[in-house]
């Protein structure tokens, strides 16, 4: 067990190194990685500010503006942290046939993908962290220090759920030839339903409840609300864990079912 974990950690380290070096390879890549979450969050805040100051001026809203800014800042961080689309990468490899290199290596596909996810995610987390720092300072999020502790505690759970989700999508791409479409659908579903694009507390209650029938709000909305104190940490961790476990349990039979259907064209 210890050997397996150490091998997994070493492989994740190798992916971390490769992803970091790739990011540092050119200043445009670096700028893109760093600026995308910052710009997205700033635009969101600016738009919301406009909406608040015009349409909803004086009206009773679900969240005070300061909380919305905190939500958007945290959602930008969480969204950028989970935004790395492992499913897209896997789908791309399945479509091009390069997934064969995943499958001729002496590791189970799950373990290989997990190490890739963890390593690449840690490397990419450097930039959302920088974005979060910029937003915290620039927009004066005013979060209490305990909130940062809660955020750090929740990050591994968020990452695990994101991995479990993208693993199932990745496996499904072994079957369908429309791997790109599946990856896109997954990205949009996550953007719309998780709270990355629009804070879910601003939506009508019944819509929010409908979103919570799926796993996506647990990626961003639930952890952000837990950090802000409007959801209990226990409830957030339980929800995240339950969905992760369910999706991981689903992955094994799904792989057995579709693994035999894999087609890789040509040499």
């Amino acid at each position: 067990m210890r050997t397996a974990l150490s091998a997994e950690a070493r492989l994740a380290g190798a992916f971390f190194r490769a992803a970091t070096l790739r990011c540092l390879d050119h200043w445009v890549t670096l700028l893109g990685e760093l600026m995308y979450p910052v710009l997205k969050a700033l635009i969101m805040v600016w738009l919301l500010k406009g909406i608040y100051q015009t349409s909803w001026a004086g009206a009773s809203t679900a969240m005070p503006f300061g909380t919305v800014v905190q939500y958007v800042g945290l959602a930008a961080f969480a969204g950028a942290f989970v935004g790395f689309n492992n499913a897209f990468m896997v789908a791309d490899r399945v479509k091009s046939g390069d997934v064969i290199f995943d499958l001729v290596r002496p590791r189970s596909w799950f373990s290989s993908l997990f190490a890739e996810y963890t390593g690449s995610r840690l490397a990419a987390a450097l930039w959302p962290a920088a974005a979060f720092a910029a937003i915290s300072l620039g927009l004066r999020l005013g979060l209490p220090w305990q909130a940062y502790g809660r955020l750090i505690l929740l990050l591994p759970f968020i990452a695990l759920l994101e991995f479990a989700l993208s693993l199932n999508i990745g496996i499904a791409t072994l079957w369908t030839q429309n791997a790109w479409g599946l990856g896109l659908a997954f990205t949009w579903a996550r953007q719309l339903l998780s709270g990355t694009l629009v804070p879910l507390p601003l939506l009508p209650e019944h819509l929010r409840a409908a979103f919570y029938a799926g796993p996506f709000p647990w990626l961003v909305d639930a952890p952000v609300r837990a950090v802000l104190g409007s959801m209990g940490m226990g409830q957030a961790i339980a929800g995240l864990s339950a969905w992760t476990l369910g999706l991981l349990v689903l992955a094994t039979p799904l792989y057995r079912l579709v693994g035999r259907r894999l087609r890789i064209n040509g040499g």
Binding site: R10, R22, P106
Partner: protein
């Protein structure tokens, strides 16, 4: 070892889903240190067989064992002992220096520090890629990349190398380097080489046994020399003779068993089955009637033999079916997906 191995795919078509047979009833046994050329036209099922051997695809029926493992069920254990190189795909990390791919693969294969350094030195020397280690993969030429791919493949010292068009697009010198490297691995370390290729230069330089697959079915399994002899059952001689002396000679030669002859100016082309009549008998007959200024024996080439077998008709097809020794022989309707 494969016995009765088949792989079917279900594909969508406008008329509804249909089943495509990529490999059918494939039987093959190989021993350690052998170099086997795996030949066949495009879409014959070569790549699919390679993927079945390394456990990426599951067989639809039949049995397969590679180095004592069931590839589909014991894929990860088998993967430690084998390496696969695809000429049209790359496992090198595109934006990073070549060294980074080697470092990455050493972690994937769980090599210890000293083991990695030793194997790296070996692979680098084998494929002569020492100067390329610090260069990003995207800056390499095709030949340099191919050498790096092969060096990466042998980093964990596999016992079986599966190569699918490893020298595609390479110049003569680059091919020579790759061929020399593969022969060294075979000779010095008993590495078994399974080479799927359309490059007959590669095949002749590396392999001594050939397996031919057409339409998913095995059509020939034997030595390269026998393959040529079996497929090319006629030999040709081209003679330069005094102008005007050929017409009578042609009529005379045609009376000999299996001989064909045609004259064009001062050139006389003679074809014959060496099993039915010797070249010396024919030459004796010619020299009795005319002088010969020049003589050229056209040796049947592997390429010509393969061409005849791909077409599959006539004597070549029947002979090839016999060469496959009961492993099928009929042309399948399959295609490689």
């Amino acid at each position: 070892m494969a016995r009765g191995l088949s792989k079917h795919f279900r594909v969508k078509a406008s008329s509804g889903p249909r089943e495509v047979v990529a490999v059918r009833d494939f039987t093959l046994a190989a021993s350690a240190g052998e170099a086997i050329a795996y030949l066949g036209p495009n879409g014959a099922g070569k790549s699919t067989t390679v993927k079945l051997i390394c456990g990426v695809l599951s067989p639809s029926s039949g049995e397969i064992q590679v180095l004592g493992y069931d590839p589909w069920r014991q894929r990860t254990r088998l993967a430690r002992e084998i390496a696969v190189v695809f000429g049209q795909r790359s496992q090198l990390l595109w934006d990073l220096p070549v060294r980074e791919t080697f470092r990455f693969l050493s972690v994937v294969y769980g090599l210890s520090g000293p083991e990695y350094r030793r194997n790296l030195a070996f692979a680098v020397e084998l494929m002569d890629v020492g100067d390329l280690l610090g260069r990003p993969v995207r800056e390499l030429s095709l030949g340099q990349k191919s050498r790096c791919e092969l060096a990466a493949a042998v980093l964990h010292r596999p016992k079986l190398l599966l190569l699918d068009e490893p020298t595609i697009g390479l110049d003569v010198l680059a091919k020579d380097r790759v061929r020399a490297g593969l022969n060294f691995l075979r000779r010095e370390f008993g590495v078994t080489v399974f080479l799927a290729s359309h490059d007959f230069g590669d095949v002749q330089a590396i392999c001594d046994r050939a397996v031919l697959i057409v339409g998913g079915s095995l059509r020939y399994d034997g030595t390269l020399a026998d393959l040529v002899a079996l497929a090319c059952d006629t030999q040709e001689i081209e003679l330069t003779i005094p102008p005007g002396s050929g017409d009578d000679l042609v009529g005379n030669l045609l009376s000999l068993p299996t001989v064909t002859a045609a004259v064009d100016g001062d050139k006389l082309d003679i074809g014959f089955d060496p099993k039915a009549i010797g070249a010396s008998d024919i030459l004796r007959r010619v020299l009795q009637r005319t002088a010969v200024k020049d003589l050229h024996v056209k040796e049947p080439t592997l390429e010509e033999a393969i061409r005849r077998l791909y077409v599959g008709g006539g004597e070549a097809g029947r002979v090839a079916a016999r060469g496959a020794s009961g492993a099928g022989g009929q042309t399948g309707a399959g295609e490689t997906p």
